[in-house]
């Protein structure tokens, strides 16, 4: 009598759930090996196939609090494999934050503690946990890594959750991307209906009242995009980067069109959050259709 799952819970999970009965423990042991030997190495050499690749956890999901307008520095985490995969989920303590981004500085340090490589990533911070997570991977560039998490918001604290795995995979470049998981919003930015965030050729239809402005955050992306916008009323459009302290390109516009009912462009984005803003002052409500094509998948 009972239920036999394909991926039975581990002994530690059963213990944590208060279910570590002798029967259950024996079940777990028998699942590990029908003929256990003295060491794991012996088991592999005599009964199994050695793992030539795989993943190990470097940092289980850990949350860091970053006070307003300040920086939190994490511990150092040690690598033994050539590649890393990372999960970063940032979120603000209030939906009223005015600069909802976290600057994640990645410092790769050698055995003597010298920084020999560094990357900076600006990740959007949503109003709630797990709403705008970023998944990344790349080459391990030193023995240890350490993060400096900067919160530029002048009023509200932020929380950043990070998990890291290492792997024998060897990604050629650092590649961090938003996940297509956006059900919440980034404070101050218009929810995009999970449209542009998907990153593939999508048509996003928005209703824009007269006198209103909507701001859509694009996900982290590096490369060319094709953007076509049509509107039933004349609107003004700007594509650029949001204003974020210390972010390259902060507040800069890279393309605009004024008082148009259709416009298109091809621009290159620089793997920081890009911002599409459009304003309707035509006197009537406008229906705006936005088509975005990313040359490479985003999510």
């Amino acid at each position: 009598m009972g239920a036999s799952f394909s991926n039975p819970a581990t002994a530690s999970q059963l213990i944590a759930a208060g279910l570590a009965t002798a029967t259950n423990q024996q079940t777990q042991i028998s699942q590990i090996s029908s003929s256990p030997t003295s060491t794991i190495a012996d088991d592999i050499s005599s009964q199994g196939t050695p793992l030539l690749h795989g993943f190990d956890s470097v940092l289980t999901a850990t949350t860091f609090t970053v006070a307003k307008d300040s920086t939190t520095t994490t511990s150092s985490y040690t690598f033994a494999k050539p590649g890393y995969y990372i999960y970063v989920n940032a979120y603000m303590s209030s939906g009223s934050a005015t600069m909802p981004f976290i600057d994640v500085s990645v410092y790769w340090n050698d055995a003597n503690g010298h920084t020999i490589a560094e990357q900076d990533w600006i990740v959007p911070a949503a109003e709630q946990a797990s709403q705008w997570p970023v998944l990344g991977n790349g080459p391990v560039e030193a023995v240890t890594v350490q993060f400096a998490l900067s919160n530029p918001d002048p009023t509200y604290s932020a929380t950043v959750e990070i998990a890291i795995d290492e792997t024998t995979h060897a990604p050629g470049r650092h590649d961090w991307r938003n996940v297509s998981y956006f059900t919440g919003t980034v404070p101050g930015y218009f929810a995009d209906g999970n449209g542009l965030s998907q990153g593939m050729p999508v048509g996003y239809v928005d209703t824009l009242a007269n006198g209103s402005t909507h701001s859509l955050l694009f996900p982290l992306y590096c490369g060319q995009i094709y953007l076509t916008i049509t509107s039933t009323e004349k609107i003004s459009i700007t594509l650029g980067y949001p204003t974020v302290t210390n972010m390259i390109g902060s507040g800069l516009n890279i393309w605009s069109a004024a008082s148009v009912t259709s416009a298109s462009t091809t621009v290159a984005l620089a793997r920081v959050p890009a911002l599409l803003t459009y304003t309707n002052s035509s006197g009537s409500t406008a229906t705006v259709d936005i088509l975005t094509t990313f040359l490479e998948y985003v999510t």
């Binding site: 009598m1 009972g2 799952f5 394909s6 797990s130 997570p133 998981y181």
Partner: protein
């Protein structure tokens, strides 16, 4: 004569901010009996993969039926369990993705009162 018909029932819950949640499933109509054959646990997001625990009636150790470390998507064969009116299967997720939707699907056969 009671009739035997297919059983397919499900219940969903939104996991809380800690990624935990619980659902119960069982026959609610007098005279109906469930004989589950499989239990499937599914979660709408696997960013954090939850553990899943299945119990009969109440979440206590004597009623433990099985557990999975892949509570985001796993299926178990269920044996030796018959649910009469008022009895339930209790599915519990822990450590999943906050605010994700978790669903327990019970399949098998059920007997219903006949003519």
């Amino acid at each position: 004569m009671p009739r035997t018909v297919q059983l397919s029932a499900s219940a969903s819950v939104t996991l809380n901010n800690s990624g935990d949640g619980q659902v119960t499933l069982g026959p609610g109509i007098p005279g109906v009996t469930w004989i589950p054959e499989t239990a499937q646990c599914i979660v709408s997001s696997d960013l954090d993969i939850p553990a899943f625990y299945l119990y009969l009636n109440t979440a206590t150790q004597p009623n433990f039926q099985g557990a999975s470390q892949a509570g985001n998507d796993d299926t178990a064969s269920v044996s030796g369990v018959t649910l009469y009116t008022g009895m339930t299967l209790v599915g519990i997720w822990t450590g999943g993705t906050p605010l994700a939707t978790a669903t327990l699907v019970i399949s098998g056969v059920q007997t219903v009162p006949g003519d």
